[in-house]
Symmetry: C2
Subunit: 206 residues, 2 copies
DNA sequence: CTGTTCAGTATAGTATACGATTATTCGAAT
DNA sequence: ATTCGAATAATCGTATACTATACTGAACAG
């Protein structure tokens, strides 16, 4: 695994855990020091993430985590709803014991940040689809909304509604029940509505 | 526009025009010399493209244009069929004179490489959707299949079937006819089948 | 007191340099 | 003639170094 890969993993993880707030500037020297490398691999990793809009390079000002508008959230969830059900549909007949165990583990791990646990759960169910591009796109869509999902769930203590839906989906997956796909769609609808409502009520100060 | 952006545009364009064959190695020094810059911005641009799977970095061997399997093509077209109709649907009521003119221009420009003209046409119809992430994802999916589309259309002289479908779609768009969306879907189905058949008949030597 | 100019500082962006890894060449041995 | 291996060349990946741009704050003018 190259240095660039490692830095990318670390930064993506930080985003999924909500450690990088919207509007925050990523100081290249600081990241380089923190990871014990030079700026070069740091910049290359950031460019990868910028390719997906996970952060934005502004000329001579560096990389910033963009603030999302309600429209952004609408787009991101539209993309997720387009792609994720297909990933699940393809993975459903191929789901292994390991996949199911990982999904269950993600559900039980109360210590994880909810957004990271959420992605672990979804990834476990998708990873056997064999569609690497789609999986990667979806991961970064998750990371893009993570900072906001954390904002609106904090205080709620790991949304019980979402947890229940996850459990239901996992149950259906255990029986290779194709209803899992429509349940996933409804689950995404709920998440989408919640986030869009939050963003309209709390417009990020530019 | 930063140096990295320029290099990225040049390399993406080269891919869309099919100037970079599958399996080809991208020599960083050579690209740097060709563009009159150092390796650093070249590598950063390549990392952006690698993020989408448009090329792959192999440890200590550099960046290579991956060969597609029929499964890859299936995934790519599944993603395109998921995303592009939505882009068109959203753009349809907002299509401007300029968008339509650009689309028509792309149809008429017989001198362009077919894959580049094809993307010009589609982009013209999608760009008013306001969904930048989706647009970007779709562009790179186009670029990913371009080398193969060129292979199987060469000799055929700009597939007349596809051209006719484009003309029909454009016509529907002019009247804001929502049928344009289903026509687009069928168009993608046709392209998908053609490419998958080609790849199964001509499996790329690893 | 407010606005503006002008150093000084911090940071980004790119070029150069160099060790590390991989590919290639060429001669020797079978 | 073919294969093996060591020396050479080519290329990558990253660190260091330099330049350019943007931010900060103090001195000054209005």
């Amino acid at each position: 695994m190259s240095t660039v890969d490692e830095v990318e993993t670390l930064v993506t993880g930080a985003m999924l855990r909500g450690e990088l707030e919207p509007g925050a500037w990523l100081r290249q020297d600081e990241l380089a020091r923190r990871f014990g490398v030079s700026k070069i691999p740091v910049r290359e990793a950031l460019q990868r993430l910028a390719a997906f809009g996970l952060l934005r390079f502004e000329a001579n000002r560096g990389a910033v985590i963009p603030r999302l508008t309600a429209d952004d959230a609408e787009e991101i969830y539209a993309l997720r709803r387009s792609i994720e059900p297909q990933l699940l549909k393809r993975a459903l007949p191929k789901l292994s014991i390991v996949d199911l165990a990982e999904a269950e583990l993600a559900l039980r791990s109360g210590d994880l940040v909810p957004t990271e646990a959420n992605w672990s759960f979804h990834r476990a169910l998708y990873q056997s689809s064999g569609w690497d591009r789609g999986l990667r796109i979806v991961e970064l869509l998750h990371a893009a909304v993570a900072p906001y999902v954390i904002l609106y769930t904090e205080g709620l203590g790991s949304a019980p509604r979402s947890d229940a839906e996850h459990a239901d989906i996992l149950d259906a997956c255990r029986h290779s029940d194709p209803n899992a796909v429509t349940m996933l769609l409804r689950h995404l609808d709920g998440a989408s509505n919640a986030l869009e409502r939050f963003l309209r009520d709390h417009p990020s100060s530019s």
